[in-house]
Amino acid sequence: MKKIAFSLMGFFFFVWVWPQRAYTQNAEEILRKVDQVLYASKDEQSHLKIILTDKNGRQSERQAVIKQKGNTMRLFRFTAPAADAGISFLSLPKNVMYLYLPAFGRERRIASHVRNQKFAGTDFSYDDMEAKLLEVKYDPVILKQDENKIILKLIPKPGVQSEYSKTELTLDAHYFYPVSVDYFDRTGRKIKHTDYIFKKIGNYWNAFKITMKDLRTGHQTQLVSTDVKYDQGLSDSDFSVRALTR
């Protein structure tokens, strides 16, 4: 779950955070600060390039436009290749997700139990596509803390369904943005790894490049965001089912 939040939130949001030392803070406070970094803006729009690389090095590319408001609403619309253009996903509060296929001219709700499934051939899951605060989903424990980095162990809160038993989040100790995440399955084996590259756009930290690798299959997904715009005054109606089908 945290994977989702980190990867996608990184694209869409940034928060201006005063550089500060974290030595004196507890795990919950640190996680809250991460959420503040990731969900700092009121809304965000960006273009996303999705590069899929299989274990043999073969690549394919997709493009999409993403809109997000707050930490509960997100619209994801594919723009390329032409065959996929218009396919859209809408993520709303209370685990509600919709899918729109333009060729069928109709939307369908996505069952909640598929949240851990792969999203459109990427290494991200449907769950990763939703916007949700980390502190709502995870119980954090500090594993390591020094001048430059903090490592948190995140364990899904009771009742949160996750394919991971835990994740280990490495943060920049000054600005609280994620640097990398390791994902572990139920047997404790590391199965995925994600690297983040953040840069500052205006007042917000933006994860302009995220690379997730499935260590079991060797498959890799890279997300590169461009044309990032913050605080454009998006309204709730931009995240309605009607907006999805437009």
Binding site: D54, L101, P102, N116, K118, A120, Q161, E163, R216
Partner: protein
Amino acid sequence: MKQFADHIIRFRWLVIALVSLLSLGAVYVLKDGMSINSDVSTSLPDSDQAARLLKDIGDEFGGNTMGLVGVEAKNVLKPGVIRDIARITDSLKYDTLVSSVVSLTNIIHIQGGDFGISIDPLVKPGQLPETKAELDSLTKIVFGNDMYKGVIVSNDTTMALIMFTIRAGVDESKAAKLLRNKIEGMHLDERLYFAGSPYLVIGISDLIAHDLKRLIPISLLVILLVLWLSFRSFKGVFLPVLTAGMAILWTLASMKMLGFELTMISDNIPIILLAVGSAYTIHVVNRVGIMIAAGRKKAVAEAVKLVAVPVLMAALTTIVGFLSFVLGAYLKMIRDFGIFTALGVMFSLILSLTLIPAILSFVGNKSAKANREKKAKTNFIRGKLLQPLFYVLKERPKLIVTIWIILLLFGIGGSFRVHRNVNMVDYFKKGNPTRVAEKKLRDKLGGTEVVYVEFTGNVQSPGFLKTMKKTETYLKTFPYISQPQSVADLIEQMNEVMGEGKKIPSNAKKIQQLWFLLDGQDIMKQLVNSDLTKAVIDARFSSGNSDDMHAFVNAMNSYLKNHKSNCCKVEFSGMPSVYSHMDTSLLYSQFSSLLLALVLVIFIVALLLRSFKSGLMAIVPIVATLVVLFGVMGLVGIPLDVATVLVASTSLGIGIDYSVHVLNHLKQVQQAGKSGDEAVADMLQITGKAVVINMVSVAAGFLVLMLSDMVPLIHFGLLVALSMLCSGMGAITLLPLIWKKSIQTKNIKS
């Protein structure tokens, strides 16, 4: 020949040194043993369309070698068993040796309803069913879907199936063995069955290795025993075995140096060479024994001069019998067997005419005791077998003819009942774990033989998918085909959950967008290639019967021929197809190699005896033997398979020797002035004895193969032994009668 014999004696030290050196070299080459290749599919010619397509499918779809794990329990739809199935599935899924895995816990499940749409595994990771309600729900889904019922879970719920494909490019046998060890290492409560082509190949390799270790010493003991009973002398026992041993060593070293591996056919080359290769030395030793009174060196040279031609003739005909596989064989392993057995026979011949005279020129005369014992032994054969036989030949020839006519009638009748069998499962004895696993999975879960129909074109076009669906519907009409699956099924199901019915959309855009949702699902890489130009229907075939396979393959080929599509190219392959081609090729191999061997043998015998009539006469006992042989196969139910297809030409090559010796003797005594019964009596007394001894020793050598763990080799050993007895008896009964008749006819004419 005299010059040759003199040279051997003159350079005897050189001969012994050279042979020793070559043998040491062969030992060095073989110091690490030989590799075994028991995969029949690698033996198919590159020109075989079914084999080529199967290989292409492997390259395009991540491998075509499917392993199957049957998980047996009282009820596999119980939490503990489901947990274990999930454990095995996960351990295979992320193994680098495996390209895909499908089981109860990860098979794709597409559904739609008020809750929305979902495309996910049938059993969600981390949410294994525990409660009664969850288990009941799973049971209902499994038995309500043709993709799962009887395919992933048996109808009686006692067995679940885990299918995995070994990644293309890895050593399949090694990979299958490692994966089996890994799964067995989990020490699960359920009983596990490992089946599918990689486990068949492993099973056969193990049997070959076991056979080699066990049968060579036994064969050696049998040959030693027969030789001891025949000669009762150290020379008579040691030298033939020495020749055969060296010939085996040289042959295997040649194979290894030339990059050939042992196969389920060539693994019996050592036993054949033990049985056949020692015969030439026996002749040499025997002849030298008779000549020794003239002085050791001189006697050896003289003996070589006399024995070289008949030995050469016998070896040549045997070599021709084996070489006939080169032109006639469809499978590379049969061709290789022919080449290297012929080479081994040639080595035996060379050693018999060089090394053996060289050694004999050093060692002493046969003891008086040995001579006495040999005489006693041969008297037994003459007194109890040959004298009564002579009486019958002379007084009651019609009895002999009648017996042969009856045998031939039985043979002809039985020949029509000979069936073919290329199913590798039947190579194992009943009770063998591999055979048991194959049978279990065949009976309960739709078989283990993969069937593919490959479609090439624009995979996402409506026409392409509709053609796939139509072909799949046709496939389902065959009783032995278990649930075929394709991407067309998935698109239909997706279209249904989008509310447009269970059918292929006619709009390509819709297909592309449904496809988008399926992208990344594990099953997709099994069904569609990465650049979306090829897709397969994947099914399994559950009958091991050759006729069923043949009928299925013919019907499919005929269907595809009559239902050509403009939107895609459709090709059909899979193990039934490969087996069917092999099956047809067995008949072709049988007739072509046999015909070739017969023609060459007639030619060689005619040339050596300088009489075409002799050539024709020589093959009479052989033809009679072959008729009886096929008759026995038909009556007893021994099928024509990759091993028994070798019997006819092998028997011809070895059995013709008897005819040659008999005819040669009759010709010699006729030239010496003897005729009719007198000549026959002389022939029986001298050559007849040799034929009987040789017939028994060769048959005994081949009968050792009956101790093999592989059913085709058991049949092979039995049939060659039978044909030895038959061709030997034919040579000393039928041939004298025909010869006498031809003499009488000639006399009447003149």
